[in-house]
Amino acid sequence: MSKQKVYIIPCSGIGKVFGSIGRESAYIVVNELKKEKSALECLPLIVKGKKKVIDTLKLNKVIAIDGCPLKCSYNNLMENVGKVDAKFMTTDIVKENRDLRPESSIMPIGEHTKKLAKKLAEKVAQKVDDLLKPNEEGELE
């Protein structure tokens, strides 16, 4: 069996900067911090019920990142894939870093927003390692 990956699914938040923090952090994880171990998928495609994507997610690990209490990523993943292996809220990283008040600008995102995304990405990256640990060990001969 090919090695498991961790799929990072940020909510598709577009109205406020909290969605942008999630998306940006997901890009940092899959492009920089955990390139080989993680991947992205479009949340709306999962919501639509695309079978191929849902089957892949079932066979791999899934992390939801949400931008507000409506938790679109978490709720839609639970509904369509039936599991979430870990979940994050971008509002938590904002609360933990009161000195980095995110700018309201979404396009482009501001410097504080970028820093918050980096901090969240580091946490998510750590979780990627945690989720894959038993599996990797199991595959060692």
Binding site: S12, I14, L40, E41, L45, K48, N75, N76, M107
Partner: protein, 139 residues
């Protein structure tokens, strides 16, 4: 109440088209038609059981107001979700059509569109703004 048009970009995270859809939507609601439009998060429209968690307000808004969906690829995620829960959108914009029509404007990546990608997003946004105007005239 003043009429508003709901803009729903698929906003797909995995594909460049999703990023263009998001950028175009933001240009419309922030710059071109800020008084006439409102932006709605796409995933709120779908998934049974969302009533339990919220999102009904957005669905109702889309039932009572005209909507324009913006699709990053042929999967039509935004259109299908809106159609299912709030009725058919008044118009649908396909990003691929613009990518094909403007090969000279190359976006850098899904993470960052770059100058040319943003130019393309502006062209798309201009068309969406025209559609918004048409919807206002029609009423």
């Amino acid at each position: 109440m003043r009429k508003k048009v709901g803009i729903i970009a698929c906003s797909g995270e995995e594909l460049l088209g999703g990023t263009l859809s998001r950028a175009a939507a933001r240009i419309v609601v922030e710059k071109l038609r800020s008084q006439e439009t409102i932006i709605l998060c796409a995933p709120l429209f779908a998934a049974g059981g969302l009533e339990r968690h919220g999102g009904q307000e957005e669905r109702n808004f889309a039932k009572e107001h005209p909507t324009i969906t913006i699709e990053g690829c042929e999967e039509e995620c935004a259109k299908i979700a809106v159609d299912k829960y709030s009725g058919p959108p008044a118009a649908t914009i396909y990003i691929q059509k613009y990518i094909d029509a403007h090969p000279e404007l190359k976006s850098i990546s899904r993470e960052s569109l770059g100058e040319e990608g943003m130019k393309l997003a502006e062209i798309i946004a201009e068309d969406i703004a025209k559609k918004v105007d048409e919807l206002f005239i029609r009423k």
